[in-house]
């Protein structure tokens, strides 16, 4: 029985890691613990034994999460996605050029294919490197968070105390620690001297936790005789025996759970992959179809390859990848200015798709600072002045003139053990360092705010403390004695309100001291309950002006065995305090709700406090009936599935669930809760339960965002579609597991992320709609070449000039588009239906705008041909002779005879004309795609990057067409301007059509035009 070691677990499954740890190291007697780990209370273990255990268990360090090799990421950026298609096209170009070389030994070989292969390979490589650079740049931000383990600690081995590296600790070691240290491993306390630890990073409990040698709970996280790895020691000192190291600690299990939980692809990544699949299928299907068709028409294989290559290149929207990257990067920069640090670029868009946010309470919705909020004196509950979190108090002092208030304030000022560490009056009061526990710190700040900077210390100097009985759990009060004047002393006391009242025989009200009556007791009880319902912590205050005859100046008070009265005191009032909501959080929650996002509170705090805060920040609306699942209900069997509206799941809008009840709740019941209730609070939750909650929301189709700051939040942060860590109070593990970090720990910053995320999706849709449009005018020339035998109106290089040249900047410029006016009034995006590319977008881009552009292209093509002597009817089925380079006397409609070179020169002018026509109509499409619903007038022209891109595109087109060497390499020639003007009517037609279309969408939502064209 004794002396056995726990078996080392191997091959831990995910389900095992999800379960809470069940250990008994905190329940067994210390002697049994010593025997179990073969250690000693005073001497620790031997050095040799420590070495053996270190070799057996490994170092006291967390296993780092697996990271993808950067070379694999680089390869993915260059060869993945659409780049794969472009590499196919480049290979086909190279093959075509090789075939040309092999078939024509003597004559000069056209270098078009060689140029195209080089251009394609270069552009794809540059694009891939750009994408890789952007992602890598963001990923490097986490390097500074790598080290989270305290470096050294004191350990006793062979009876000698020494300082060693924390990673060398083993189970059974006797370690010593004190205030300011971090706990080096999971350990059981064997000696405690005023020991208090901060477990907020682990459990979310914001109050310092007393630690001693007593086992107070079966729950390892609750009992007082255990200290957990990586928590902070705030006060006192202690010793303990290590019971877990490295990955076997609570934090280690959470970290392992974090690394094993697969976050899955982000919604944006899913959409991009979906989009790539669609376009790839279309490209290869059409390409292969035309390849076969070309062979059927008895074109040579080289020509067939050219057709295939042209179709593929034309279908690939090369601009979409840099648009995504620039859009996400730009948004990350914008959000960085608003205190949102984006670690994973794609997570920004995920936030825009979020339909549920599971938010922590302490530090996220609240300020993580106990603050005095209410007073009760003179028979009334009164609000206190609000302490500005980031500024000096400049407001009006409400109750300064009231005598009862002054006495209450005096008692609060004197009866305290907290003090400001150093006078730093230039620092805002809320941020000054105050020693003491949370309650006393809150009262101290309040008193300083009312009295003025430094006046509390001055007041205490006038009335110095003579004696003190500190707070303890037996008495439930603390008292101190101060000289009120040279002749008289005063006793001040504070503590649990009901305890204080029992010790009082009189109370002070409206300037008079009255005897306690039943009426007063009733009022007190009512006030106490009211303040309690706010979820606030309430303290009672009383005093006693001592008799001058019995306790003259110089009287020696005995604090151990009081020789002064502790009864018949005078009750002064109540002071209540709570961790208040952050400024802006209620409005932020309201904005989220208007945007269709449900905000859910998931906290380790008490249900009453949680509910009170939820009411204040509108997570639970006022006057809404709340179903409470806090206590076990004997009528219900928790293990069975429960249905909404029956049993414990009452048909109300809000629900508060205790973590203990969540433990026994069946998965189906939890699913019913998250489906039907829309104002939800989970209180007293454990780390595994938070993950359980996230998975429940995800299982019903929600896109879940989770906020958290503790190590316990790491699995949920990783599992969530977007994990949001706190930048100030968050632990390194939570920051590592999260996708985004709020640098100011403010929930309101999430709203910025939601808006930016939705904007990303909107802008990506617009960019895709714009980019896909040019595919049709790029494909139809090849179709006409094969089907109708027309001379080729467009070359592949011209297509590349559009996709990689003139279309690239405008496509990317959509990332800078301002939001439409209703972006935060829309419902969250349903990933099942609201795809990045849907049928209507394809129809709009391809069959509507694209078709108009194709008409424009062929119009200019035919007019150019007519101007040079080729009528449309004479162009049919002439491509075979046209491309025969040995026919130098092909006759046109006027009987003129054209040589091969002159025909090719005219054809290159056709390329240029068609190219320019697409550029002009794409300008119109660019402005048409600025909005999906609003009019262009409503949207405005604030996107200067987009406006500049039009100018750039114009100059680029002119440069490409008219620069001597450039147009020779690219195979185009300039044309006369009057032919280019033929594109303008079609550009106008596109703009007019789209404006009318959007008018109908706005006027008749749900109408036919809306169903047909709204993408």
């Amino acid at each position: 029985m004794f002396g056995c070691f726990k078996k080392k677990k191997t091959n831990k499954s995910l389900e095992d890691l999800k379960k809470d740890v069940v250990i008994d190291d905190h329940e067994i007697p210390l002697d049994a613990l010593f025997k179990r780990y073969t250690t000693s209370e005073k001497n620790g273990i031997s050095e040799a034994e420590a070495t053996n255990r270190l070799n057996r268990d490994g170092p006291n360090a967390l296993t780092p999460p697996k990271q993808t090799s950067k070379w694999i990421k680089l390869a993915g950026s260059i060869f993945g996605g659409f780049n794969f298609l472009l590499w196919c096209a480049a290979s086909a170009s190279a093959v075509g050029y090789g075939m040309d070389l092999s078939m024509s030994d003597d004559e000069e070989v056209p270098k078009d294919n060689m140029y195209m292969a080089i251009i394609l390979a270069t552009v794809v490589t540059v694009t891939g490197l750009f994408d890789f650079y952007q992602n890598r740049k963001s990923g490097n931000l986490m390097d500074s968070f790598a080290n989270m383990i305290p470096p050294k600690t004191l350990v006793v081995r062979d009876g000698a105390t020494r300082e060693i590296e924390v990673k060398d600790l083993v189970v059974g070691d006797l370690v010593r620690f004190r205030g300011g240290d971090r706990v080096p491993a999971d350990l059981r306390v064997t000696l405690a001297r005023g020991l208090k630890v901060d477990n907020s990073s682990l459990t979310g409990e914001s109050e310092p936790q007393t630690r001693n040698m007593n086992c107070t709970s079966k729950n390892a996280l609750e009992t007082k005789n255990l200290c957990m790895f990586s928590t902070s020691v705030l006060e006192g000192s202690g010793e303990g025996i290590i019971i877990g190291t490295g990955d076997r600690t609570f934090v280690g299990r959470i970290a392992a759970l974090t690394t094993q939980v697969d976050p899955g692809p982000t919604p944006l990544a899913k959409e991009i992959n979906h989009f790539i699949k669609i376009i790839s299928i279309v490209a290869f299907t059409v390409g292969i179809a035309f390849f076969i068709l070309a062979l059927v028409y008895e074109y040579p294989p080289l020509k067939a390859i050219v057709f295939f290559m042209g179709i593929v290149v034309a279908n690939v929207p090369e601009g979409i990848v840099p648009t995504v990257t620039v859009s996400l990067t730009l948004t990350a920069v914008k959000m960085r200015k608003k205190f949102c640090l984006v670690k994973k670029l794609q997570a920004v868009e995920t936030l825009g798709s979020t339909s549920t946010i599971c938010s922590d309470k302490t530090g996220t919705l609240t300020q993580n600072r106990m603050t005095v909020t209410h007073l009760w004196f003179d028979g009334k509950i009164k609000d206190t002045e609000i302490l500005p979190p980031n500024d000096h108090f400049k407001g009006e002092k409400k109750y300064e003139k009231e005598d009862s208030y002054q006495k209450l304030l005096r008692c609060a000022t004197l009866c305290s053990r907290s003090h400001f560490r150093v006078p730093e009056f230039d620092v805002p009061l809320a941020k000054r360092v105050v020693n003491g526990d949370a309650s006393e710190v809150a009262i101290m700040r309040y008193c300083e705010m009312i009295r003025g900077d430094g006046q509390v210390d001055e007041f205490r100097k006038i009335m110095p403390k003579i004696g003190e009985i500190p707070f303890n759990s037996t008495n439930k009060y603390q008292l101190s004695i101060h000289p009120m004047s040279k002749k008289q002393n005063i006793l001040v006391m504070k503590g649990a309100p009901e305890k204080i009242l029992k010790l009082c025989s009189t109370y002070y009200q409206n300037g008079e001291t009255k005897n306690v009556s039943k009426k007063f007791e009733k009022e007190f009880q009512q006030a106490y309950e009211t303040l309690g319902s706010y979820g606030e912590r309430v303290l009672g205050f009383c005093d006693l002006e001592m008799s001058t005859t019995k306790f003259p100046p110089g009287f020696k008070f005995n604090m151990e065995e009081p020789n002064f009265p502790i009864k018949n005191l005078r009750f002064l009032g109540l002071i209540s305090m709570i961790d208040p909501p952050r400024p802006g959080v209620p409005e932020a929650v309201r904005v989220c709700q208007n945007a269709g996002i449900r905000v859910v509170m998931v906290t380790g705090d008490h249900p009453i406090t949680a509910r009170a805060i939820a009411n204040q920040v509108h997570i639970i609306e006022e006057n809404v009936q709340v179903t409470e699942i806090v206590n076990a209900d004997p009528k219900c069997d928790p293990a069975s599935d429960e249905i909404y509206g029956k049993g414990r799941l009452k048909p109300t809008g809000a629900v508060v669930i205790h973590g203990e009840q969540l433990t026994t709740m069946s998965p189906k019941t939890l699913k019913a809760v998250v489906t039907n209730y829309h104002q939800i609070v989970f209180a007293r939750t454990s780390p595994a339960q938070k993950l359980q909650i996230v998975e429940a929301f995800q299982s019903v189709g929600n896109i879940v965002g989770v906020t958290g700051d503790g190590v316990n939040d790491a699995p949920a942060l990783r599992k969530a579609d977007i994990g949001i860590a706190m930048g100030i109070t968050g632990t390194d593990v939570s920051k590592q597991a999260a996708d985004m970090i709020l640098l100011n720990d403010n929930f309101a910053s999430i709203v910025t992320g939601v808006e930016e995320g939705r904007l990303i999706f909107d802008n990506l849709k617009k960019s895709i709609a714009y980019t896909l449009t040019s595919n049709i005018p790029e494909i139809t020339p090849f179709m006409s070449y094969v089907l109708f035998g027309l001379p080729l109106p467009m070359s592949i290089i011209a297509i590349l000039m559009i996709d990689l040249g003139t279309d690239l900047w405008p496509a990317i410029s959509f990332a800078y588009e301002v939001p439409e006016s209703d972006i935060m009034q829309r419902a969250p995006r349903n990933p099942l239906y609201d795809k990045l590319v849907n049928k209507r977008l394809v129809m709009f881009s391809y069959m509507q705008i694209g078709a108009i552009q194709a008409c424009a292209g062929f119009t200019t093509y035919f007019v150019l041909m007519m101007s040079n002597g080729w009528f449309p009817q004479d162009l049919l089925n002439i491509s075979e002779q046209w491309d025969n380079k040995y026919i130098d006397d092909l006759e046109d409609s006027y009987g003129q005879q054209w040589s091969y070179e002159s025909r090719k020169a005219l054809e290159s002018c056709c390329y240029g004309t068609f190219f320019f026509t697409i550029v002009v109509t794409q300008w119109s499409d660019l402005f048409a795609s600025k909005t999906r619903k609003n009019s262009l007038v409503m949207q405005g022209m604030e996107n200067h990057v987009l406006n500049t891109s039009v100018i750039f595109t114009c100059f680029l087109a002119i440069f490409v067409l008219n620069t001597p060497f450039v147009n020779e390499v690219l195979g185009v020639q300039g044309f006369r301007l009057e032919i280019g003007f033929l594109a303008l009517p079609f550009a106008f037609f596109i703009g007019l059509y789209d404006e009318v279309r959007r008018y109908f969408i706005r006027t008749y939502p749900g109408g036919y035009i809306y169903k047909e064209t709204y993408y």
């Binding site: 269709g596 006057n623 062929f858 047909e1012």
Partner: protein, 374 residues
């Protein structure tokens, strides 16, 4: 043994202590059985427990006192409020459901849109078409893609027949008619473009160019029977093999037709006296051919293409002038490259800067077919 007993006694004492606390708590605050594990918590826990107890009691009282109707009303109100505060619902795609016949309207919509775009395109093309002159394109001559200098071309061009291979080569066997029949067919096709070329065709009334000046509207006949010697393009000569059967083929050399182009020849030193009225007399456009072998060239007519056949203006019945070159002394079984270019400097270079020449290859063989005895 003693130590073990001592440990057990301590355990029992602790249990007793817990029981006492539990009893005390139960008596004072009526904490339920679930609170046993929390009995030793600090003051905060105690306060919270008491709050819970009081709250639970208060809730129970309120519920027991309220009539059932009020409860129902409150629940309804809460439900309405709850629904109203949910914000916009997530889309499930139903608002885009156009019904089973929705695709019909989609097609109609597309056809209307395409119709409008197509009509706009046709209108623009027709408008530009209607502006065109019947005889002159908008862009021609110098500065256009066709250029200001006509390209030299030749017939018969073997690539016209898309034969196998990529080289521009004429190959034939003088003893096999089938090897050069395509070239003769090509000549027949060319002959169709000239008046009197086919016996059945009715002779037009146009005069010869030497007797009538060519105008913009009317063309004149090309004199293809004078001064061409053995290379006269006629059915009789084609029937006789047109030189291919003898190993001395005739190749037609000509300049591409360009609307409005007029030759601008350099003045010739040797002025020939011309009878009055003969507009085609004088030096014309001459070609000079070279080869990479010892091939002899004989030109018909020797004076070249007369300038009286220009300019071309898409006149009806226009007959393109040409010059014939007869190839002799061709080396058998050797591929010979022949290049023919105009002699005049104004025609030497094309607008693209390249040499204005026609290049082709010939490969002549003399393989007698093996005759079967018997």
């Amino acid at each position: 043994m003693v130590g073990s007993n001592s440990s057990r006694d301590d355990s029992q004492q602790r249990k007793s202590f817990l029981d006492k606390q539990n009893s005390s708590k139960t008596a004072k605050s009526r904490v339920g059985s679930s609170e046993k594990s929390k009995s030793s918590k600090t003051e905060k826990s105690t306060q919270q427990s008491e709050k819970k107890t009081e709250r639970s009691t208060a809730n129970t009282t309120i519920k027991s006192e309220a009539p059932s109707k009020k409860l129902i009303t409150q629940q309804s109100t809460a439900s309405i409020q709850s629904v109203g505060r949910r914000g916009p619902k997530m889309s499930d795609g139903t608002e885009f459901d156009a019904g089973p016949y929705g695709y019909i309207f989609s097609f109609i919509f597309l056809f209307v849109l395409w119709g409008l775009a197509t009509m706009l395109a046709i209108a623009l093309v027709w408008f530009n078409f209607s502006r065109l002159d019947r005889q002159y394109p908008i862009y021609f001559g110098d500065g256009s893609f066709l250029g200001g200098a006509p390209k030299v071309s030749f017939d018969p061009n073997p690539r016209q027949f898309l034969e196998d291979g990529t080289k521009n080569a004429m190959s034939w066997n003088i003893y096999e008619f089938s090897t050069y029949v395509n070239y003769l067919i090509r000549y027949k096709q060319v002959l169709k473009k000239y008046s009197g070329g086919i016996g059945k065709q009715k002779v037009k009334k146009e005069e010869m160019c030497k007797n009538q000046t060519m105008t913009r509207e009317n063309a004149c006949k090309f004199d293809r029977l004078t001064d061409f010697g053995e290379c006269t393009l006629s059915l009789d000569n084609l029937e006789r093999g047109f030189g291919y059967s003898k190993g001395q083929p005739c190749i037609m050399l000509k300049l591409n037709k360009i609307v409005g182009w007029v030759p601008n020849l350099s003045p010739s030193k040797n002025k020939t006296k011309c009878p009055s009225g003969d507009l085609c007399c004088g030096q014309g456009i001459k070609f000079k051919c070279t080869s990479n072998a010892d091939v002899k060239f004989e030109y018909f007519p020797k004076t070249g293409i007369p300038t009286c056949y220009f300019p071309y203006a898409n006149q009806g019945g226009y007959e393109q002038p040409y010059q014939m070159v007869k190839l002799t002394n061709i080396t058998v079984n050797r591929e010979t490259t022949i290049e023919c270019a105009p002699e005049d400097s104004s025609l030497n270079t094309l607008a693209s800067g390249k040499t204005n020449e026609a290049r082709f290859h010939i490969l002549m063989t003399k393989n007698r077919p093996v005759e079967t005895v018997g």
